[in-house]
């Protein structure tokens, strides 16, 4: 119960390590191509992780950070343990300082690295077998690995991994160790207790905000209250800003782009004081952008409507003649969906701790930089630190901490650059921990884009979809960051609108870029959550128009489809419908709605059971069925589906950030409502292990819930919800 917190491993030194434990350390590169043991040196910059077998029989799997609740530490360690043939209970996990090629985004934390960790475990196992065979003077084929030891099948003697580790460490690393067939997995596919949970029940888990260093000072940040505003004076020397009374320092801060100062960092003896002093910086210090009056939700929506009709689109997907299909259709539907900006609101606000030692500004070679950060992108953070300090990367150390939620927000680097700028203004060697106030975090997010999505579709007399046209208008995340869009536009905008598994006679998905300058970013499941609401709502309307049950209508569209994912999609849909009891009687005042989506190659069907009043919807149950190919840790897959559904449901019910003359409507949870205990539906999760290549689980639970609930609401009330959120302006109950 009182296990100490997961600690960050210092850069591992082979000789120190061997001196201390006499064990075996295997370094692994991401592609697995150049495994090398300690004996062959660990100096490669391509090293992704290490596997350690201690003389005391402890098995330690090192990971490069990235734990934000999705179970990455556990899932990857399970893979190494599986091939190593050790008991799961003997495995420990430690995060490393930042190493290259480590990123937690796109629901890829486990799936992208699983082969590496499998291969690492297998390589170590084969080396241990070789060491045992040599010691006994028998053939390797007479040695069997299991339970953390090697069995001599001639004598029944055993040697433990700890006993064999020093000899194994001197052996060459096999380039292609044999891998265990999936059917024989003992650990993968069984629910495993997550290694990061005990510290999360006793206060010892260390998040970014929990970094604590001797002599540390505390910082807060105040941004321009008008988005895009800058400090009125831009002449501060080295960023030194007139400090408020009681502050240790104040620093004018530049945005990540390096442009004009857009924020002030205030340093004090504790966080509360820093927050208070920063909060007191007057609105008169800021210059609003010239177009501030137009930074307004109504303007943005008017622009979107204009672009919907007249914008020059990128063609994301086209097949057949959609206009002819619509013209010749027996019936058509034409629906336009409106989406607000959304904030991430991770429970842990943005935070970063920096210590510059021996650092002399303007002398790039002098000193070191250490950064403790809750970051989804430690290697990008290393680049950020190099840019903002001018130091060589070899003089910089990034310590990725646990994240109190990432959700896509902690992929960004704005807060990292701020903390470094603050540290540069402090005496050398002074650690500074910056924690944003919640109000800053909500209003200065990189929001999920606002959007307007129109779907026109046609049906023939038999209920076949003859034409499907989806036009998506939203700001482009990629374009806003300077990318030149390709012929298909921004894939993050149209994902979930393209590659639909249904049988459509013709289809056209196009995209128009909206010019709003409000910063946009990657919100859990990105474009999928936008498009799924429009697509799965429109499918329901087509079913209703065709006079066919919405579930059976989807079944028909999938059975008639030649799409490669149609069969798996159908299986998920049927399982969720069966679990929910689709078609069976419900208490008066309740209805069910269903949706099926694909995101990051994972298919999820969700069936929601609801009741409704004029001001709220109550979701009683959600039956969720997921096919992610292979579930490494089924309990974590279940948790991620539950979490994704909650996240998507909060957003659908109440999530919105509106803009009035450049000022965000959201400042805290009182005006950015989220689900609480009494509103939480009971969610059942069924997992289909289809054997398809493993796919992601962190995000795909999100997109389906909004349309599933909207479809149930349509069934219950006859009203189609076209605007998100369902209940705008609702404040937190009881506040």
């Amino acid at each position: 119960m009182n296990e100490s917190s997961i600690k960050i491993a210092d850069a591992l030194d082979r000789r120190d390590f061997l001196k201390v434990t006499g064990g075996f350390l295997l370094a692994i590169t991401l592609d697995g191509a150049t495994n090398r043991s300690v004996a062959q040196g660990v100096g490669s910059t391509n090293i992704t992780t290490y596997l350690r077998i201690g003389a005391d029989e402890t098995i330690t799997v090192f990971v490069g950070g990235g734990e934000m609740g999705q179970g990455i530490y556990t899932g990857l360690a399970m893979a190494a343990a599986e091939e190593l043939k050790v008991d799961w209970a003997s495995v420990k996990v430690e995060p490393l300082t930042a190493i290259s090629s480590w990123l937690s985004a796109g629901s890829g934390g486990i799936r992208s690295r699983l082969p590496t960790f499998l291969k690492a475990g297998a390589a170590a196992r084969e080396m241990l077998i070789s060491a045992a065979a040599t010691q006994w003077g028998i053939a390797r084929s007479l040695c069997v690995a299991g339970g953390g030891s090697i069995l001599n099948t001639l004598t029944d003697e055993t040697l433990t991994y700890g006993q064999l580790a020093p000899a194994a460490a001197l052996l060459p690393v096999p380039a292609a160790p044999p891998l265990t067939p999936a059917a024989q997995y003992q650990i993968i596919g069984t629910p495993a207790a997550r290694v990061d949970l005990p510290p999360k029940t006793n206060g010892s888990a260390k998040y970014g905000v929990d970094t604590f260093l001797p002599g540390m000072v505390f910082a807060a940040v105040k941004h321009s209250p008008v988005i895009g505003g800058t400090l009125t004076l831009q002449t501060y020397t080295n960023g030194i800003y007139p400090k408020p009374g009681g502050a240790i320092a104040a620093v004018a801060l530049r945005p990540l782009s390096g442009g004009d100062y857009n924020a002030v960092g205030v340093v004090a003896s504790n966080t509360f004081l820093a927050h208070s002093l920063a909060n007191g910086i007057s609105a008169t210090k800021w210059t609003a952008p010239a177009d501030a009056a137009l930074r307004d939700t109504n303007t943005y929506m008017a622009q979107a409507k204009h672009l919907m009709g007249r914008g020059a689109p990128y063609i994301a997907e086209t097949f057949g003649d959609v206009e002819a299909g619509l013209t010749n259709a027996a019936q058509t539907v034409d629906l336009t969906y409106t989406y607000p900006y959304l904030a991430h609101c991770c429970m842990e606000v943005l935070s970063c701790t920096v210590r510059l030692t021996g650092y002399v500004a303007g002398t790039p070679s002098a000193g070191t930089c250490e950064v403790w950060a809750p970051t989804q992108a430690p290697n990008t953070t290393l680049n950020t630190a190099a840019t903002w300090t001018g130091l060589a990367k070899t003089s910089i150390t990034i310590y990725p901490t646990l994240m109190g939620g990432g959700l896509g927000r902690k992929f960004e680097q704005d807060y990292i650059a701020q903390a470094i700028q603050i540290a540069k203004a402090l005496p050398s060697g002074t650690p500074v921990k910056m924690i944003w106030k919640r109000e800053q975090d909500m209003a200065n997010d990189q929001f999920r884009p606002m959007a307007l999505i129109r779907i026109r579709a046609g049906l023939d007399a038999a209920g076949n979809v003859t034409a499907w046209n989806c036009r998506h208008v939203s700001p482009s995340i990629s374009k806003q960051r300077g990318a030149t869009l390709g012929a298909k536009g921004d894939g993050n905008a149209t994902e979930g609108a393209t590659l639909l598994p249904y049988s459509f006679g013709s289809r056209l998905v196009d995209y128009v870029v909206h010019p709003s300058p409000v910063p946009v970013g990657y919100w859990r499941s990105v474009g999928y959550s936008l498009n799924a609401f429009a697509v799965e709502s429109a499918i329901d309307e087509l079913a209703i128009a065709a006079g066919i049950d919405p579930y059976l209508f989807r079944v028909q569209l999938l059975q008639n489809s030649t799409d490669p994912l149609a069969a798996r999609t159908l299986a998920c849909l049927q399982d969720a419908a069966a679990t929910a009891g689709w078609g069976t009687a419900l208490p008066a005042g309740r209805a069910r709605g269903i949706a099926v989506t694909m995101a990051f190659n994972t298919i999820v069907a969700e069936c929601a059971e609801i009741s409704a009043t004029a001001t709220s919807i109550k979701v009683y149950k959600v039956a969720c069925t997921v096919d992610c190919g292979t579930a490494v840790n089924p309990d974590s897959v279940e948790a991620q589906m539950q979490g994704g559904i909650f996240h998507g449901l909060s957003a659908a019910m109440w999530g919105q950030v509106k803009w009035t003359a450049g000022v965000a409507s959201a400042s805290n949870f009182n005006n950015y409502r989220v689900l609480r205990m009494n509103e939480a539906p009971a969610i059942t999760v069924n997992i289909i292990n289809s054997g398809a290549p493993m796919s992601g689980c962190g995000e795909p639970g999100v997109p389906g819930i909004a349309p599933a609930v909207a479809n149930a609401y349509r069934k219950l009330t006859g009203t189609r919800i076209l605007t998100l959120p369902f209940f705008p302006g609702a404040t937190m109950d009881g506040i």
Binding site: M1, G69, T201, F218, G404, K437, R438, Q642, F646, M677
Partner: protein, 159 residues
């Protein structure tokens, strides 16, 4: 200089402004970082601690008003017991922690200190809470662990 009783230990605390919230004294002065900042407005409950056994948010509680009271934070939960907890058996704090692991409750885990302290407060007043009693916990979890929290509270209450 004020004296705080936190987790059974007496701390002499030098805090210039005694209207500083208990949360930030715990975190920034005592280094007890298990108690979390979430909203600063008594909405999200991430900063929940026990004050004389009652669950209370600490983000707007002047540290001066904690003087003379018994404060329990997440770091002290393992040792936290109710008067009726049988001697020699795990106390309510330990049972909650065990149930939290058994039900695999946390995801990111950030809100869980506050959730556990809220649950400890609940079990003091309602040793066998109904679902409606658990619904009175208004703490926010963005990961959406409510379903497992509910199961864990029932498990702890019945163990």
């Amino acid at each position: 200089m004020i004296t705080l009783n936190v987790n059974g230990q007496s701390y002499q605390v030098n805090v210039a402004d005694t209207s500083t919230p208990l949360l930030w004294v715990l975190r920034d002065i005592l280094g007890l970082t298990g108690t979390k900042y979430g909203c600063g407005k008594e909405i999200c409950g991430a900063c929940t601690v026990l004050v004389n056994g009652q669950a209370q948010t600490s983000c707007q509680m002047d540290v001066s008003s904690a003087v003379g009271k018994t404060i329990t934070t997440i770091e002290g939960l393992a040792a936290y017991r109710l008067p009726n907890d049988p001697a020699g058996a795990p106390g309510v704090g330990e049972k909650l922690q065990a149930a939290w692991v058994d039900q695999q409750v946390p995801q990111c885990g950030y809100c869980q200190s506050g959730m556990l302290m809220a649950a400890a407060g609940l079990l003091k007043s309602k040793p066998h809470p109904a679902d409606a009693d658990i619904n009175e916990i208004k703490n926010i979890c963005i990961c959406g662990t409510y379903q497992r929290i509910r199961a864990a509270i029932h498990e702890a209450a019945n163990s």
